[in-house]
Amino acid sequence: MEGYFSYTAELFDPSKVNEKPEVLKGIRVLDFTHVIFGPTVSRIMGNYGAEVIKLELPFYGDLWRPATYWGRYWKHSNPIWHFVTQNKYFVSVDLKRPEAQDLIYRMAKTSDVVVENFAPGTAEAWGVGYSSISKVNPNIIYLSCSTYGQYGPMRYFPGWDLLAQAASGVLSLNGYPGTDKYFKLPDYLGDFVPGNMGTLVVLMALYYRNKTGKGQYLDLSQTDSMMRSLPHFAYYSVTGETLGRTGHSDPAMIAASIFKTRDKKFLALACATERQFEGLCSAMGKEDLLRDRRFTDYLEGLKEENAEALRKIAADWVKSQDSGVIIKLANSKGFAAAEVVDDKMICYDSWRRERGSVILFNDEMYGEIALAGPSARLSKTPGRTKWLARPVGYHNRLVLKKFLGMSEEEIQELEKKKIIGTYDDKPGLKPPVYYNLDEDPIYNYGREVKEKK
């Protein structure tokens, strides 16, 4: 056992992440996305080495840039935006202008993937839809993200994460039975879950293209994606009953609920097997329950009245114990238990830091911030953060010169016509006040810059 943990410690060593190869090196993503759903698709690709060119409207930028929690900025930027749009090249082009199309097609020619999440029909109307892009690059993988999908009677309905939660049935399920108290899933989960699915399906298309040479068109709806997580449809078709809301409890597992401990902490408990139930009974000192006919069989124990009785017993026990004691017992007796953790606990948990689940990232423009690490840890090709979000149009020169071979004169011409541009003087769009862009060699790519003092 000792040998195993030193083996894995070396295999996943967080300090070696940046030395390891990147899966998507050389893959270029043209990113027309905004807000969270679409940007998450390309952000994850960027974490694994893809070159993501994010296109924004000049001077306005992405709608989500100024959208901060409770209106609180961090160094004139949106702290959560740094997680959502890390590792991207920020190019600012006015897509609606016909002159911009030429630029887009040139970028599309050398791209592997296009991602967009405009309202369905918009990309086609602007001449950057699949039918146009596939003409200049027939093997492109083109992902359209929307709330209800690209076809069907609801395709033109506008939507956000909330509407996908409402239309899929997810919104109606988080709350208390027999009351009208219920809640949406927090933090735009209706964007993040479909966003991760988006990356998954783009990778599938990439895998297919590597084998056959063929690109394709992908239509991902966030309502479809949220529906994928519900067993409620099958439940309804089998039993003829709706499952409804179940409060703090999970009706599918034994003794599964959130309880309050003696030291006023909240704690979740559950037993996944009959064996784990034995562990819980022994921890509670209630071995007699193992002979109680209501609980001896797992399926029997899940029946509503039996489950209710058992949860009452568990709640009384948890109320009499401190959280730390229960967690220790769970580990030694073998049943599932975890304390409810909040933002601060997650940010400062030492094991998350040690593991790389929360990293302190040091950015050249913004300095230090805590970021979440990747959801899955890959031993040979781990995901990583290279830079945070940047002001609107920050990489204009770098991308147009380096990737498209344009000259300074051509770029200035585009700037004069306002086909490309940078940021308005607004928080979320502009650099931090202490930062002097004139001294920045990336912003001024291919131009002389003053030496940094």
């Binding site: 409402a166 933002d343 940010c347």
Partner: protein
Amino acid sequence: MRLFKKKGKEVAYTRYSAAAASLSVWKEIVERLMTPEGRPEVLEDVMVLDASYANFSGIIAASFLAEFGAEVIKIEPPEGDPSRKMTPFGKNVKGVGIPFMVEGRNKRYMTLDLKNSEKDRKDFAKLAQKATVVIETFPAGEMDSWGIGYRQIVEKNPGLIYIAITPYGQYTEKAREFVNLPDSDITVQAGSGLAAQIGDPITEPEPYNWPLKAGMWMGWYVTGLSAALGGTMALVYRQSTGEGQMIDVASMDAYSSMTGFPASIGYTWENARPRIGVLDFILYPYGHWKCKDGYVAIAAPRDHDFRALIKILGMWGRTGEFESDWRYTSDRIPDILDQAMILHRAIEEKTMMYTSDELVKKALNYARKAARSKWRGGGVPIIMKVMTPDKTMENKQWEIRKSFKEVEDETVGKYVITSGFVKMSESPPQVKWVSCDIGKDNEYIRTKYLQQQ
């Protein structure tokens, strides 16, 4: 003048023909999206061994790969995986729980007693040599101690992708200390930061002010999706290099790593967010309201969307009361909860006067007119009926998109599941069959993979 007109016509004609050309491409694409049956499968060359035990995140990860055409073999002990019995209120068909039926898509079932039988472990090792992906959820190091962990299999199968899912991962002191702690959905929701963000504010009466759980297995879905995404990333790397790798998924990262908010907010605020009930931290209005015949979700967060909403609800301009009341003239950042709730209730008074259909129509009509008007500034108030899952199933949109599928298993009969969460023009995911009998494919697998050549 004449010349100008003619020129205008020509431009119009060119635009029209371009639109017609792209429309014909578009029609062809949609036809392909609508007929996924019989198209090529992305992962037809991939064999997956799913040895997950009493843990749905592994089963869900395997499902994603199976939908894209991988041959997924579920390995379970002769008495069956305990996951079979995890089902809401114990509802089952012939001993098989509903979540297990839902995830039984395109899978093969084989019995091997990895815990107790040396001989079965040898068979597993032989299978693993031919596998592309192994998924397991045993305590960290347990498979290794049985001689069938990543370390041992990779010696003979360097292309192997080995996905291990546990609460705290495969390395760090914490992982070692809590190696025997089992996994469950509710503990993942609590321990990765989801539960802390759902529920009423602390000022409300108990138990409504407790942290709440999502009404579906969101903890396990996020974990399973993350594992499938990591695995697919590794498959792409394997495709170009022939090399496999190990993937470590800690379910206690699930929520915090997918959204990234807890780490960055914990750091920049130096504090945890409270629970704010039905409100949203960034957007207002962005939630659900009671109406005559149920509930509607309303999103009208931008200023012009908000004004549009207020107008269609008849709150603007008639009496002047709304405009002159200082309580409504704030910036709508809901950091003063009491004030936000005043507006919340004012809106509810109005929504109660209409049915959900009336409200949805009002919003759509306004958005349609606003798009054409130069005065209305394009306000788009979005209103959607809050569906319960049984109502979602009746929606025409999903019928046309074939998002639900009635499937039939010879043992448990007919039931409805979601299918094809993404539509792809070349290689879409598919549900080819469902099955769930223990050891159903023992013979098939032994003949195909274990016979001496």
